[in-house]
Amino acid sequence: MRRVLRAMPTMLKIGFSEAAAYRAEMLVWVFATTMPLIMLMVWTAVSEVAPVPSVSGRTWGTGSFVAYFLSAFIVRQLISSWAAWEINYEVRQGTLSMRLLRPVHPVLMYLVQNLAFMPLRFAVTAPVVVILLVSPGGAHLEKHWATWLVFLASLAGGWMINFFANIAIGALSFTMESSVKIMDVWLAAFFVFSGYLFPLDLFPPWLREVSAWLPFRYQLGLPVELMTGVHELPTALTLLARQLAWAAAFLVGSLALWRAGVKRFQAYGG
Protein backbone atom coordinates (compact mmCIF):
# COMPACT_ATOMS: atom_id res chain seq x y z
CA MET A 1 0.00 0.00 0.00
CA ARG A 2 2.80 2.38 0.96
CA ARG A 3 4.56 1.51 -2.32
CA VAL A 4 1.43 2.42 -4.29
CA LEU A 5 1.02 5.68 -2.39
CA ARG A 6 4.65 6.54 -3.16
CA ALA A 7 3.99 5.85 -6.84
CA MET A 8 0.81 7.96 -6.98
CA PRO A 9 2.39 11.42 -7.48
CA THR A 10 4.46 10.15 -10.42
CA MET A 11 1.47 8.31 -11.89
CA LEU A 12 -0.61 11.49 -11.61
CA LYS A 13 2.16 13.64 -13.06
CA ILE A 14 2.61 11.37 -16.08
CA GLY A 15 -1.17 11.04 -16.41
CA PHE A 16 -1.36 14.82 -16.58
CA SER A 17 1.34 14.87 -19.28
CA GLU A 18 -0.80 12.42 -21.27
CA ALA A 19 -3.86 14.60 -20.69
CA ALA A 20 -1.95 17.59 -21.99
CA ALA A 21 -0.96 15.57 -25.06
CA TYR A 22 -4.64 14.77 -25.68
CA ARG A 23 -5.90 18.31 -24.97
CA ALA A 24 -7.37 18.71 -28.46
CA GLU A 25 -9.33 15.45 -28.15
CA MET A 26 -10.55 16.56 -24.74
CA LEU A 27 -11.86 19.83 -26.14
CA VAL A 28 -13.69 17.92 -28.85
CA TRP A 29 -15.23 15.74 -26.12
CA VAL A 30 -16.26 18.89 -24.21
CA PHE A 31 -18.04 20.14 -27.33
CA ALA A 32 -19.78 16.78 -27.53
CA THR A 33 -21.20 17.28 -24.04
CA THR A 34 -22.86 20.63 -24.60
CA MET A 35 -26.37 19.17 -24.47
CA PRO A 36 -27.15 21.11 -21.25
CA LEU A 37 -26.36 24.33 -23.11
CA ILE A 38 -28.77 23.39 -25.90
CA MET A 39 -31.42 22.45 -23.34
CA LEU A 40 -30.72 25.77 -21.63
CA MET A 41 -31.65 27.62 -24.82
CA VAL A 42 -34.82 25.55 -25.24
CA TRP A 43 -36.04 25.98 -21.67
CA THR A 44 -35.17 29.67 -21.33
CA ALA A 45 -37.16 30.28 -24.51
CA VAL A 46 -40.09 28.41 -22.96
CA SER A 47 -39.80 30.22 -19.62
CA GLU A 48 -39.68 33.63 -21.30
CA VAL A 49 -43.22 33.00 -22.52
CA ALA A 50 -44.36 31.90 -19.07
CA PRO A 51 -42.65 30.47 -15.97
CA VAL A 52 -42.75 26.66 -15.84
CA PRO A 53 -44.41 25.21 -12.74
CA SER A 54 -43.37 21.82 -11.42
CA VAL A 55 -45.45 19.30 -9.51
CA SER A 56 -43.32 19.97 -6.43
CA GLY A 57 -44.64 23.55 -6.38
CA ARG A 58 -41.45 25.18 -7.59
CA THR A 59 -41.64 27.67 -10.45
CA TRP A 60 -38.86 27.57 -13.03
CA GLY A 61 -37.95 30.89 -14.61
CA THR A 62 -35.07 31.98 -16.82
CA GLY A 63 -32.66 32.46 -13.90
CA SER A 64 -33.33 29.04 -12.41
CA PHE A 65 -32.93 27.32 -15.81
CA VAL A 66 -29.63 29.17 -16.41
CA ALA A 67 -28.37 28.13 -12.97
CA TYR A 68 -29.50 24.53 -13.49
CA PHE A 69 -28.13 23.87 -16.96
CA LEU A 70 -24.83 25.68 -16.49
CA SER A 71 -24.37 23.71 -13.26
CA ALA A 72 -25.26 20.53 -15.14
CA PHE A 73 -22.61 21.34 -17.75
CA ILE A 74 -19.97 21.99 -15.06
CA VAL A 75 -20.81 18.85 -13.08
CA ARG A 76 -20.82 16.70 -16.23
CA GLN A 77 -17.25 17.82 -16.98
CA LEU A 78 -16.06 17.09 -13.48
CA ILE A 79 -17.61 13.63 -13.03
CA SER A 80 -16.63 12.27 -16.41
CA SER A 81 -14.87 8.97 -16.96
CA TRP A 82 -14.16 6.94 -20.09
CA ALA A 83 -12.67 3.82 -18.52
CA ALA A 84 -15.36 1.53 -20.02
CA TRP A 85 -14.29 2.33 -23.60
CA GLU A 86 -10.64 1.96 -22.72
CA ILE A 87 -11.11 -1.40 -20.98
CA ASN A 88 -13.29 -2.67 -23.81
CA TYR A 89 -10.62 -1.74 -26.35
CA GLU A 90 -7.75 -3.14 -24.34
CA VAL A 91 -9.50 -6.45 -23.65
CA ARG A 92 -10.40 -6.92 -27.32
CA GLN A 93 -6.93 -5.98 -28.54
CA GLY A 94 -5.09 -7.83 -25.80
CA THR A 95 -3.20 -4.71 -24.76
CA LEU A 96 -4.60 -5.08 -21.26
CA SER A 97 -1.76 -7.58 -20.82
CA MET A 98 0.66 -4.71 -20.33
CA ARG A 99 -1.38 -3.34 -17.43
CA LEU A 100 -1.78 -6.78 -15.86
CA LEU A 101 1.98 -7.29 -15.85
CA ARG A 102 2.55 -4.26 -13.66
CA PRO A 103 2.48 -4.56 -9.86
CA VAL A 104 -0.29 -1.97 -9.49
CA HIS A 105 -3.96 -2.89 -9.74
CA PRO A 106 -5.16 -1.96 -13.25
CA VAL A 107 -8.30 -0.33 -11.82
CA LEU A 108 -6.07 2.00 -9.84
CA MET A 109 -4.19 2.86 -13.03
CA TYR A 110 -7.45 3.72 -14.82
CA LEU A 111 -8.48 5.78 -11.79
CA VAL A 112 -5.26 7.79 -11.81
CA GLN A 113 -5.44 8.26 -15.59
CA ASN A 114 -8.98 9.63 -15.28
CA LEU A 115 -8.15 11.85 -12.32
CA ALA A 116 -5.09 13.23 -14.11
CA PHE A 117 -7.42 14.96 -16.59
CA MET A 118 -9.03 16.97 -13.77
CA PRO A 119 -6.75 20.03 -13.94
CA LEU A 120 -7.61 20.43 -17.63
CA ARG A 121 -11.27 19.91 -16.88
CA PHE A 122 -11.14 22.59 -14.20
CA ALA A 123 -9.55 24.90 -16.77
CA VAL A 124 -12.38 24.18 -19.23
CA THR A 125 -15.13 24.71 -16.65
CA ALA A 126 -13.61 27.83 -15.04
CA PRO A 127 -14.98 30.25 -17.69
CA VAL A 128 -18.42 28.61 -17.40
CA VAL A 129 -18.31 29.09 -13.62
CA VAL A 130 -17.57 32.79 -14.18
CA ILE A 131 -20.43 33.08 -16.69
CA LEU A 132 -22.73 31.34 -14.21
CA LEU A 133 -21.79 33.76 -11.44
CA VAL A 134 -22.42 36.88 -13.50
CA SER A 135 -25.52 35.53 -15.26
CA PRO A 136 -29.14 35.69 -14.00
CA GLY A 137 -28.46 32.14 -12.76
CA GLY A 138 -25.99 33.49 -10.17
CA ALA A 139 -28.82 34.55 -7.92
CA HIS A 140 -30.18 31.01 -7.85
CA LEU A 141 -27.05 29.37 -6.49
CA GLU A 142 -26.74 27.92 -2.99
CA LYS A 143 -25.93 30.54 -0.35
CA HIS A 144 -24.95 28.36 2.63
CA TRP A 145 -21.22 27.45 2.81
CA ALA A 146 -21.88 24.15 4.58
CA THR A 147 -24.02 22.99 1.67
CA TRP A 148 -21.16 23.85 -0.66
CA LEU A 149 -18.98 21.48 1.32
CA VAL A 150 -21.63 18.81 0.87
CA PHE A 151 -21.64 19.70 -2.84
CA LEU A 152 -17.89 19.08 -3.07
CA ALA A 153 -18.33 15.71 -1.41
CA SER A 154 -21.22 14.93 -3.77
CA LEU A 155 -19.03 15.79 -6.73
CA ALA A 156 -16.52 13.18 -5.54
CA GLY A 157 -19.39 10.74 -4.95
CA GLY A 158 -20.83 11.38 -8.41
CA TRP A 159 -17.43 10.82 -9.98
CA MET A 160 -17.00 7.57 -8.05
CA ILE A 161 -20.37 6.21 -9.21
CA ASN A 162 -19.54 7.16 -12.77
CA PHE A 163 -16.02 5.74 -12.66
CA PHE A 164 -16.92 2.44 -11.03
CA ALA A 165 -19.94 2.04 -13.35
CA ASN A 166 -17.42 2.43 -16.18
CA ILE A 167 -15.20 -0.24 -14.61
CA ALA A 168 -18.18 -2.59 -14.16
CA ILE A 169 -19.36 -2.14 -17.74
CA GLY A 170 -15.79 -2.34 -19.04
CA ALA A 171 -15.29 -5.59 -17.11
CA LEU A 172 -18.24 -7.10 -18.97
CA SER A 173 -16.06 -7.14 -22.06
CA PHE A 174 -14.19 -10.07 -20.50
CA THR A 175 -17.34 -12.14 -20.98
CA MET A 176 -19.03 -10.60 -24.02
CA GLU A 177 -17.87 -9.59 -27.48
CA SER A 178 -18.11 -5.88 -26.72
CA SER A 179 -19.51 -4.04 -23.72
CA VAL A 180 -19.69 -0.67 -25.50
CA LYS A 181 -23.35 -1.28 -26.40
CA ILE A 182 -24.12 -1.78 -22.70
CA MET A 183 -22.46 1.57 -22.11
CA ASP A 184 -24.73 3.13 -24.74
CA VAL A 185 -27.79 1.81 -22.89
CA TRP A 186 -26.35 3.06 -19.60
CA LEU A 187 -25.77 6.51 -21.08
CA ALA A 188 -29.29 6.67 -22.49
CA ALA A 189 -30.68 5.98 -19.01
CA PHE A 190 -28.20 8.46 -17.54
CA PHE A 191 -29.35 11.23 -19.87
CA VAL A 192 -32.96 10.77 -18.78
CA PHE A 193 -32.74 9.86 -15.10
CA SER A 194 -29.77 11.97 -13.98
CA GLY A 195 -31.33 15.32 -14.74
CA TYR A 196 -28.86 15.91 -17.56
CA LEU A 197 -31.46 16.69 -20.22
CA PHE A 198 -34.11 18.25 -17.97
CA PRO A 199 -34.49 18.84 -14.25
CA LEU A 200 -35.96 15.83 -12.43
CA ASP A 201 -38.22 18.36 -10.71
CA LEU A 202 -40.17 18.64 -13.97
CA PHE A 203 -40.84 14.87 -14.09
CA PRO A 204 -44.25 13.54 -13.12
CA PRO A 205 -44.24 12.35 -9.47
CA TRP A 206 -44.06 8.63 -10.30
CA LEU A 207 -41.03 9.15 -12.56
CA ARG A 208 -39.32 11.25 -9.92
CA GLU A 209 -39.94 8.43 -7.47
CA VAL A 210 -38.34 5.96 -9.89
CA SER A 211 -35.33 8.20 -10.46
CA ALA A 212 -34.81 8.54 -6.70
CA TRP A 213 -34.18 4.78 -6.55
CA LEU A 214 -31.75 4.72 -9.44
CA PRO A 215 -28.04 5.64 -9.30
CA PHE A 216 -28.17 8.19 -12.14
CA ARG A 217 -29.56 11.04 -10.07
CA TYR A 218 -26.64 10.64 -7.66
CA GLN A 219 -24.13 10.91 -10.49
CA LEU A 220 -25.20 14.34 -11.71
CA GLY A 221 -28.60 15.43 -10.41
CA LEU A 222 -27.62 15.60 -6.74
CA PRO A 223 -24.51 17.81 -7.19
CA VAL A 224 -26.53 20.10 -9.49
CA GLU A 225 -29.40 20.28 -6.97
CA LEU A 226 -26.89 21.15 -4.25
CA MET A 227 -25.31 23.87 -6.39
CA THR A 228 -28.67 25.40 -7.13
CA GLY A 229 -29.81 25.49 -3.51
CA VAL A 230 -32.67 23.03 -3.77
CA HIS A 231 -31.95 21.22 -0.49
CA GLU A 232 -31.69 22.23 3.15
CA LEU A 233 -28.54 20.93 4.86
CA PRO A 234 -30.15 17.93 6.65
CA THR A 235 -31.73 16.74 3.38
CA ALA A 236 -28.46 17.34 1.57
CA LEU A 237 -26.61 15.15 4.07
CA THR A 238 -29.20 12.38 3.77
CA LEU A 239 -28.93 12.43 -0.01
CA LEU A 240 -25.13 12.46 0.24
CA ALA A 241 -25.27 9.36 2.42
CA ARG A 242 -27.43 7.64 -0.22
CA GLN A 243 -25.02 8.70 -2.90
CA LEU A 244 -22.04 7.33 -1.02
CA ALA A 245 -23.92 4.06 -0.50
CA TRP A 246 -24.36 3.85 -4.29
CA ALA A 247 -20.67 4.66 -4.78
CA ALA A 248 -19.67 1.91 -2.33
CA ALA A 249 -22.00 -0.56 -4.07
CA PHE A 250 -20.48 0.26 -7.46
CA LEU A 251 -16.96 0.01 -6.06
CA VAL A 252 -17.59 -3.46 -4.59
CA GLY A 253 -19.61 -4.66 -7.59
CA SER A 254 -17.18 -3.42 -10.22
CA LEU A 255 -14.16 -4.94 -8.46
CA ALA A 256 -15.98 -8.27 -8.16
CA LEU A 257 -16.81 -8.17 -11.88
CA TRP A 258 -13.23 -7.23 -12.67
CA ARG A 259 -11.80 -10.09 -10.59
CA ALA A 260 -14.13 -12.61 -12.18
CA GLY A 261 -13.44 -11.20 -15.64
CA VAL A 262 -9.65 -11.23 -15.44
CA LYS A 263 -9.76 -15.00 -14.90
CA ARG A 264 -11.39 -15.29 -18.31
CA PHE A 265 -9.01 -12.87 -20.03
CA GLN A 266 -7.61 -14.51 -23.13
CA ALA A 267 -4.84 -11.98 -23.90
CA TYR A 268 -5.48 -12.13 -27.63
CA GLY A 269 -2.78 -11.14 -30.06
CA GLY A 270 0.95 -11.18 -29.63
Binding site: A7, P9, T10, I14, L101, P103, F265
Partner: protein, 331 residues
Amino acid sequence: MIRVRALQKHYRVHKRPPGFSAAMKAIFRRQYTWVKAVDGIDFDIEPGERVGFLGPNGAGKTTTLKILSGLLHPTAGEVEVDGHVPRKREVALLKKIMLVMGQKQQLLWDLPPAETFELNRAIYDVPRAEFHKRVGELIELLELGELITKPTRQLSLGERMKCELAAALVHGPKVLFLDEPTIGLDVSMQVVMRDFIRRYNEQHGATLILTSHYMDDVAALCPRVIVIDKGQLSFDGSLESLVQRVRPEKRVTLRFSRPVSKEDVSTLGTVVKHEAAEAVIQVPQDGVNAAVSRALGSLPVHDLNVENAPLEEVMSELFSRSRAAREAEAA
Protein backbone atom coordinates in the same frame (compact mmCIF):
# COMPACT_ATOMS: atom_id res chain seq x y z
CA MET B 1 13.38 -21.09 -11.25
CA ILE B 2 10.49 -22.33 -13.41
CA ARG B 3 8.60 -25.56 -12.89
CA VAL B 4 5.77 -26.67 -15.16
CA ARG B 5 3.82 -29.89 -14.69
CA ALA B 6 0.98 -31.27 -16.82
CA LEU B 7 0.09 -27.77 -17.95
CA GLN B 8 -3.11 -27.43 -19.95
CA LYS B 9 -4.91 -24.47 -21.43
CA HIS B 10 -8.10 -25.21 -23.33
CA TYR B 11 -10.27 -22.50 -24.89
CA ARG B 12 -13.88 -22.63 -25.94
CA VAL B 13 -14.15 -20.65 -29.16
CA HIS B 14 -17.13 -19.62 -31.22
CA LYS B 15 -17.04 -21.16 -34.67
CA ARG B 16 -19.08 -20.32 -37.74
CA PRO B 17 -18.56 -20.61 -41.46
CA PRO B 18 -18.44 -17.42 -43.52
CA GLY B 19 -21.52 -15.98 -45.20
CA PHE B 20 -24.77 -14.25 -44.40
CA SER B 21 -26.86 -17.35 -43.68
CA ALA B 22 -24.22 -18.67 -41.27
CA ALA B 23 -24.23 -15.28 -39.54
CA MET B 24 -28.03 -15.43 -39.18
CA LYS B 25 -27.91 -18.98 -37.84
CA ALA B 26 -25.23 -17.98 -35.35
CA ILE B 27 -27.60 -15.41 -33.85
CA PHE B 28 -29.94 -18.19 -32.70
CA ARG B 29 -27.59 -21.12 -32.31
CA ARG B 30 -23.95 -20.56 -31.62
CA GLN B 31 -21.53 -23.35 -32.20
CA TYR B 32 -18.50 -23.71 -30.05
CA THR B 33 -15.41 -25.78 -30.29
CA TRP B 34 -12.65 -26.52 -27.83
CA VAL B 35 -9.09 -25.58 -28.73
CA LYS B 36 -6.30 -27.29 -26.83
CA ALA B 37 -3.72 -24.50 -26.95
CA VAL B 38 -1.52 -26.25 -24.40
CA ASP B 39 -2.18 -29.88 -23.71
CA GLY B 40 -0.11 -31.34 -20.91
CA ILE B 41 3.45 -30.09 -21.01
CA ASP B 42 6.19 -30.50 -18.38
CA PHE B 43 9.56 -28.81 -18.10
CA ASP B 44 11.92 -27.18 -15.63
CA ILE B 45 14.14 -24.16 -16.25
CA GLU B 46 17.11 -23.35 -14.03
CA PRO B 47 18.07 -19.81 -12.95
CA GLY B 48 20.08 -17.98 -15.60
CA GLU B 49 19.17 -20.37 -18.43
CA ARG B 50 18.35 -19.09 -21.92
CA VAL B 51 15.66 -21.24 -23.45
CA GLY B 52 14.01 -20.96 -26.85
CA PHE B 53 10.39 -21.99 -27.33
CA LEU B 54 9.95 -23.18 -30.89
CA GLY B 55 6.94 -24.33 -32.79
CA PRO B 56 4.77 -23.48 -35.77
CA ASN B 57 2.09 -20.77 -35.54
CA GLY B 58 -0.62 -21.73 -33.08
CA ALA B 59 1.60 -24.34 -31.40
CA GLY B 60 1.01 -22.94 -27.90
CA LYS B 61 4.31 -21.10 -27.34
CA THR B 62 2.86 -17.67 -26.62
CA THR B 63 0.03 -19.20 -24.57
CA THR B 64 2.65 -20.90 -22.40
CA LEU B 65 4.53 -17.62 -21.95
CA LYS B 66 1.32 -15.86 -21.01
CA ILE B 67 0.54 -18.52 -18.42
CA LEU B 68 4.06 -18.27 -17.00
CA SER B 69 3.71 -14.50 -16.68
CA GLY B 70 0.30 -14.75 -14.99
CA LEU B 71 -1.78 -13.28 -17.82
CA LEU B 72 -3.71 -16.48 -18.44
CA HIS B 73 -5.17 -18.88 -15.94
CA PRO B 74 -4.33 -22.47 -16.87
CA THR B 75 -7.12 -25.00 -17.31
CA ALA B 76 -5.11 -27.60 -15.36
CA GLY B 77 -1.61 -28.35 -14.19
CA GLU B 78 0.97 -26.72 -11.97
CA VAL B 79 3.17 -23.73 -12.71
CA GLU B 80 5.71 -22.11 -10.46
CA VAL B 81 7.97 -19.18 -11.26
CA ASP B 82 10.60 -18.46 -8.62
CA GLY B 83 8.36 -20.04 -5.99
CA HIS B 84 5.22 -18.12 -7.02
CA VAL B 85 2.06 -19.31 -8.70
CA PRO B 86 1.77 -16.86 -11.64
CA ARG B 87 -2.02 -16.81 -11.89
CA LYS B 88 -2.17 -15.24 -8.40
CA ARG B 89 -0.26 -12.25 -9.82
CA GLU B 90 1.44 -11.51 -6.51
CA VAL B 91 3.29 -8.21 -6.42
CA ALA B 92 6.50 -10.01 -5.43
CA LEU B 93 6.36 -12.04 -8.66
CA LEU B 94 5.33 -9.15 -10.90
CA LYS B 95 8.36 -7.21 -9.67
CA LYS B 96 10.64 -10.07 -10.75
CA ILE B 97 9.34 -10.77 -14.23
CA MET B 98 8.62 -9.02 -17.51
CA LEU B 99 7.05 -10.12 -20.74
CA VAL B 100 8.18 -8.31 -23.87
CA MET B 101 5.86 -8.86 -26.80
CA GLY B 102 7.00 -7.69 -30.20
CA GLN B 103 3.46 -6.80 -31.19
CA LYS B 104 2.28 -5.20 -27.96
CA GLN B 105 3.73 -2.19 -26.32
CA GLN B 106 3.91 -0.65 -22.92
CA LEU B 107 5.41 2.66 -24.01
CA LEU B 108 3.03 5.60 -23.66
CA TRP B 109 2.24 6.41 -27.27
CA ASP B 110 2.15 10.20 -27.14
CA LEU B 111 4.87 10.72 -24.57
CA PRO B 112 8.63 10.20 -24.85
CA PRO B 113 9.93 6.80 -23.64
CA ALA B 114 11.67 8.59 -20.76
CA GLU B 115 8.19 9.15 -19.25
CA THR B 116 7.44 5.42 -19.39
CA PHE B 117 10.79 4.71 -17.74
CA GLU B 118 9.90 7.15 -14.96
CA LEU B 119 6.43 5.63 -14.59
CA ASN B 120 7.96 2.16 -14.29
CA ARG B 121 10.44 3.46 -11.72
CA ALA B 122 7.57 4.65 -9.58
CA ILE B 123 5.36 1.58 -10.12
CA TYR B 124 8.18 -0.90 -9.45
CA ASP B 125 9.50 1.22 -6.58
CA VAL B 126 13.05 1.31 -7.96
CA PRO B 127 15.33 3.55 -5.82
CA ARG B 128 16.26 6.69 -7.74
CA ALA B 129 20.02 6.09 -7.69
CA GLU B 130 19.58 2.54 -8.96
CA PHE B 131 17.12 3.78 -11.61
CA HIS B 132 19.52 6.42 -12.96
CA LYS B 133 22.39 3.92 -13.06
CA ARG B 134 20.32 1.30 -14.86
CA VAL B 135 18.76 3.70 -17.34
CA GLY B 136 22.23 5.13 -18.04
CA GLU B 137 23.46 1.61 -18.86
CA LEU B 138 20.45 0.89 -21.02
CA ILE B 139 20.89 4.14 -22.93
CA GLU B 140 24.52 3.31 -23.55
CA LEU B 141 24.14 -0.36 -24.47
CA LEU B 142 21.09 0.10 -26.65
CA GLU B 143 22.35 3.40 -28.06
CA LEU B 144 19.12 5.14 -27.14
CA GLY B 145 20.59 8.63 -26.86
CA GLU B 146 18.04 11.26 -27.83
CA LEU B 147 15.41 8.67 -28.69
CA ILE B 148 14.08 8.64 -25.16
CA THR B 149 13.07 12.29 -25.37
CA LYS B 150 11.08 11.98 -28.63
CA PRO B 151 7.39 11.07 -28.50
CA THR B 152 7.06 7.30 -28.99
CA ARG B 153 4.76 7.73 -31.99
CA GLN B 154 7.62 9.45 -33.86
CA LEU B 155 10.05 6.55 -33.41
CA SER B 156 10.72 3.91 -36.05
CA LEU B 157 9.80 0.30 -35.26
CA GLY B 158 13.39 -0.60 -34.44
CA GLU B 159 13.88 2.45 -32.23
CA ARG B 160 10.61 1.72 -30.48
CA MET B 161 11.56 -1.91 -29.84
CA LYS B 162 14.85 -0.85 -28.29
CA CYS B 163 12.97 1.55 -26.02
CA GLU B 164 10.39 -1.17 -25.25
CA LEU B 165 13.17 -3.47 -24.13
CA ALA B 166 14.73 -0.72 -22.02
CA ALA B 167 11.35 0.05 -20.40
CA ALA B 168 10.93 -3.64 -19.64
CA LEU B 169 14.28 -3.74 -17.86
CA VAL B 170 13.99 -0.62 -15.69
CA HIS B 171 13.11 -2.77 -12.67
CA GLY B 172 15.81 -5.36 -13.40
CA PRO B 173 13.60 -8.43 -13.87
CA LYS B 174 15.07 -11.81 -12.90
CA VAL B 175 12.92 -13.60 -15.46
CA LEU B 176 12.43 -12.22 -18.93
CA PHE B 177 9.85 -13.64 -21.29
CA LEU B 178 10.51 -12.48 -24.84
CA ASP B 179 7.79 -13.13 -27.39
CA GLU B 180 9.08 -12.38 -30.90
CA PRO B 181 11.26 -9.50 -29.69
CA THR B 182 12.84 -8.93 -33.10
CA ILE B 183 9.73 -9.22 -35.25
CA GLY B 184 9.72 -6.71 -38.08
CA LEU B 185 13.21 -5.42 -37.32
CA ASP B 186 15.92 -5.10 -39.95
CA VAL B 187 18.94 -7.40 -39.76
CA SER B 188 21.28 -4.96 -38.05
CA MET B 189 18.68 -4.06 -35.44
CA GLN B 190 18.08 -7.78 -34.82
CA VAL B 191 21.79 -8.20 -34.11
CA VAL B 192 21.77 -5.23 -31.69
CA MET B 193 18.79 -6.70 -29.83
CA ARG B 194 20.31 -10.19 -29.64
CA ASP B 195 23.65 -8.89 -28.38
CA PHE B 196 21.93 -6.81 -25.75
CA ILE B 197 19.69 -9.63 -24.57
CA ARG B 198 22.65 -12.01 -24.23
CA ARG B 199 24.65 -9.40 -22.34
CA TYR B 200 21.73 -8.76 -19.97
CA ASN B 201 21.52 -12.48 -19.25
CA GLU B 202 25.27 -12.75 -18.63
CA GLN B 203 25.58 -9.63 -16.47
CA HIS B 204 22.44 -10.09 -14.37
CA GLY B 205 22.05 -13.87 -14.39
CA ALA B 206 18.47 -13.39 -15.57
CA THR B 207 16.51 -16.34 -16.87
CA LEU B 208 15.39 -15.84 -20.48
CA ILE B 209 12.64 -17.59 -22.35
CA LEU B 210 12.33 -16.62 -25.97
CA THR B 211 9.92 -17.38 -28.75
CA SER B 212 10.90 -16.33 -32.24
CA HIS B 213 10.31 -17.31 -35.81
CA TYR B 214 13.78 -16.01 -36.64
CA MET B 215 16.05 -18.99 -36.22
CA ASP B 216 19.03 -16.66 -35.99
CA ASP B 217 17.58 -15.35 -32.71
CA VAL B 218 17.34 -18.86 -31.37
CA ALA B 219 20.77 -19.91 -32.62
CA ALA B 220 22.41 -16.80 -31.15
CA LEU B 221 20.63 -16.83 -27.81
CA CYS B 222 19.37 -20.23 -26.80
CA PRO B 223 21.62 -23.14 -25.91
CA ARG B 224 18.47 -25.06 -25.00
CA VAL B 225 15.27 -25.32 -26.99
CA ILE B 226 11.82 -26.61 -26.15
CA VAL B 227 9.72 -27.50 -29.16
CA ILE B 228 5.97 -27.27 -28.74
CA ASP B 229 3.60 -28.48 -31.39
CA LYS B 230 -0.19 -28.57 -31.13
CA GLY B 231 0.12 -27.81 -27.44
CA GLN B 232 2.41 -30.74 -26.72
CA LEU B 233 6.09 -30.82 -25.99
CA SER B 234 7.91 -32.64 -28.77
CA PHE B 235 11.52 -31.90 -27.88
CA ASP B 236 13.49 -30.53 -24.94
CA GLY B 237 17.25 -30.35 -25.19
CA SER B 238 20.18 -28.59 -26.76
CA LEU B 239 19.91 -27.00 -30.15
CA GLU B 240 22.75 -29.20 -31.35
CA SER B 241 20.96 -32.39 -30.35
CA LEU B 242 17.76 -31.19 -32.02
CA VAL B 243 19.66 -30.72 -35.26
CA GLN B 244 21.29 -34.13 -34.85
CA ARG B 245 17.95 -35.75 -34.31
CA VAL B 246 16.12 -34.15 -37.19
CA ARG B 247 18.84 -33.65 -39.80
CA PRO B 248 21.98 -35.58 -38.79
CA GLU B 249 23.56 -35.10 -42.22
CA LYS B 250 26.21 -32.43 -42.73
CA ARG B 251 26.32 -29.82 -45.45
CA VAL B 252 29.59 -29.43 -47.35
CA THR B 253 29.93 -26.22 -49.33
CA LEU B 254 32.57 -26.43 -52.07
CA ARG B 255 33.92 -23.49 -54.04
CA PHE B 256 35.84 -24.29 -57.18
CA SER B 257 38.60 -22.50 -59.08
CA ARG B 258 36.88 -23.46 -62.37
CA PRO B 259 33.37 -24.72 -63.32
CA VAL B 260 32.54 -28.29 -62.30
CA SER B 261 29.62 -30.32 -63.64
CA LYS B 262 26.76 -31.48 -61.45
CA GLU B 263 27.53 -35.10 -62.34
CA ASP B 264 31.02 -34.80 -60.90
CA VAL B 265 29.72 -33.25 -57.70
CA SER B 266 26.94 -35.80 -57.28
CA THR B 267 29.47 -38.58 -56.78
CA LEU B 268 30.25 -37.03 -53.37
CA GLY B 269 26.72 -36.99 -51.90
CA THR B 270 23.25 -35.55 -52.38
CA VAL B 271 23.49 -32.28 -54.29
CA VAL B 272 21.51 -29.57 -52.50
CA LYS B 273 22.67 -26.71 -54.69
CA HIS B 274 24.82 -26.51 -57.80
CA GLU B 275 26.24 -23.52 -59.63
CA ALA B 276 29.20 -23.41 -62.02
CA ALA B 277 31.81 -22.61 -59.37
CA GLU B 278 29.98 -23.57 -56.19
CA ALA B 279 28.10 -26.58 -54.90
CA VAL B 280 26.48 -27.68 -51.67
CA ILE B 281 26.24 -31.39 -50.95
CA GLN B 282 24.66 -33.28 -48.12
CA VAL B 283 26.50 -36.27 -46.69
CA PRO B 284 26.00 -38.55 -43.70
CA GLN B 285 27.90 -37.40 -40.61
CA ASP B 286 30.30 -40.36 -40.70
CA GLY B 287 30.91 -39.84 -44.40
CA VAL B 288 32.17 -36.26 -44.17
CA ASN B 289 35.88 -37.11 -44.06
CA ALA B 290 35.63 -39.41 -47.05
CA ALA B 291 33.61 -36.92 -49.08
CA VAL B 292 35.99 -34.08 -48.29
CA SER B 293 39.05 -36.22 -49.19
CA ARG B 294 37.49 -37.23 -52.48
CA ALA B 295 36.51 -33.65 -53.29
CA LEU B 296 40.01 -32.37 -52.57
CA GLY B 297 41.55 -35.20 -54.59
CA SER B 298 39.36 -35.08 -57.66
CA LEU B 299 37.94 -31.57 -57.97
CA PRO B 300 39.52 -28.09 -58.26
CA VAL B 301 38.44 -27.04 -54.75
CA HIS B 302 39.84 -23.77 -53.51
CA ASP B 303 37.58 -23.39 -50.47
CA LEU B 304 35.28 -25.65 -48.47
CA ASN B 305 33.06 -25.40 -45.46
CA VAL B 306 31.31 -28.10 -43.38
CA GLU B 307 28.28 -27.18 -41.30
CA ASN B 308 24.90 -28.36 -40.07
CA ALA B 309 21.79 -27.90 -42.17
CA PRO B 310 20.27 -24.41 -41.73
CA LEU B 311 18.06 -24.25 -38.66
CA GLU B 312 15.08 -23.09 -40.74
CA GLU B 313 15.27 -26.33 -42.72
CA VAL B 314 15.61 -28.39 -39.57
CA MET B 315 12.54 -26.78 -38.06
CA SER B 316 10.59 -27.02 -41.26
CA GLU B 317 11.33 -30.73 -41.49
CA LEU B 318 10.48 -31.25 -37.82
CA PHE B 319 7.11 -29.55 -38.20
CA SER B 320 6.28 -31.33 -41.45
CA ARG B 321 7.13 -34.67 -39.83
CA SER B 322 4.81 -33.99 -36.92
CA ARG B 323 2.10 -32.81 -39.31
CA ALA B 324 2.47 -36.02 -41.32
CA ALA B 325 2.36 -38.10 -38.14
CA ARG B 326 -0.86 -36.39 -37.07
CA GLU B 327 -2.45 -36.88 -40.47
CA ALA B 328 -1.47 -40.56 -40.43
CA GLU B 329 -2.95 -40.89 -36.96
CA ALA B 330 -6.17 -39.20 -38.07
CA ALA B 331 -6.42 -41.49 -41.11
